[in-house]
Symmetry: C2
Subunit: 214 residues, 2 copies
């Protein structure tokens, strides 16, 4: 007789929320990694409408869903960019982000994506970090957050917030580690030929930006 099969797990859904002028690597660094787990993580791009969305570097991405039809995801990813704070004026997007974050298993942001989440009230009372050069100019938009000056990324409960741009990749590997184990994270880094900074306290850019003493 055959052994009883293990149940096939349902893939987690990941929604990446994008807006005009998002920072390219904030989005695609994490998606290179979290998007390479077939059968375990299924990615959808969500935007306010289904029209193409251009990053600040200019490439045009077609959303898979808009805020009216996107289902609530297991994992929510929010990139940053100088225009992230403009989303704080967009009520339909904010409403979707608040509902998605409340429902999600994990909420991830890269760079000034945490300023958007924080400004929307999603990180109230949480520890979080953000881009280092923009740190002092932006954290005032979210005063209810405990902002951490020196961190590659900060993990507080279900919230993962990374520092600027490239830091999103290090954080994403930590997320893979949390969801699927350390070995999976290391294998993903090796497959991408990526030198994972796996210490969340590693952050020379906080020193360079003058946020902490060197």
């Amino acid at each position: 007789m055959a052994e009883p099969s293990a149940p096939i797990p349902t893939p987690r859904t990941l929604a990446a929320f994008v807006f005009p002028g998002f920072e390219t690597l904030d989005l695609y660094g994490p998606l290179e990694m979290l998007g390479s787990l077939p059968g375990r993580v299924e990615v959808a791009i969500v935007a306010e409408t289904r029209e193409a969305v251009a990053s600040v570097q200019g490439q045009r991405l077609l959303p898979d869903a808009d805020v009216d039809d996107a289902p609530m995801p297991d994992l929510l990813l929010v990139p940053g960019g100088d225009s992230a704070i403009d989303v704080l004026q967009r009520e339909r997007s904010l409403d979707w982000l608040r509902r998605a974050a409340a429902d999600a298993e994990l909420v991830l942001s890269v760079c000034t994506g945490s300023i958007l989440l924080g400004g929307a009230g999603i990180l109230d009372g949480r520890r979080a970090t953000t881009n280092k050069r923009d740190f002092l100019a932006t954290i005032g938009l979210a005063p209810q957050v405990e902002w951490i000056r020196q961190a590659r990324w900060v993990e507080d409960g279900k919230y993962f917030t990374s520092s600027g741009v490239s830091a999103g990749m290090d954080m994403s590997l930590a997320v893979i580690g949390r969801l699927f184990g350390r070995d999976e994270a290391e294998e993903m880094a090796a497959g991408c030929e990526y030198d994972w900074h796996d210490d969340p306290h590693w952050d020379p850019f906080a020193v360079e930006a003058g946020l902490v003493a060197g």
Copy 2:
């Protein structure tokens, strides 16, 4: 009297050639950096047609031009992906790639993008590298290339070829250094909070893949 103004330099054009199933970070890592030089580098996405092109991770990108109307760029960027070798069957794309490479100031590839360039005859007699795990299985498609087993990237004349996925970012910073000076490359890395591996010989992944002794 006013000083005579320095002439405003014409921006260089960069064409990134994409195909179905391209590897996400191969493209967007370099574009985060080379696409953030306004007035100095102008990026266009080129594909065989103007229809949306999905990466292997599934996100859909709208090309800016197709191989019938794309002008010859100053800088040509070719990402990789498992499907890069499929482009070797597509004569219209190969014809455009050969003409663009011949005309370009610099030709850049990431990961198996060099297998595509090499298979198209564009790297004959040149030194080049490629993805380390796929190395031995793919270099036979381009036997006229001198393949370098251990290298983060290889620079041979106007040709820059990088190792797998993440290596494209390190190579792109080297390209910025060559075009605009070392200081610009370091500033770009810092702005992206990126830990630049600026030594082209740094390549622990060649050891891990068993291509060279540890």
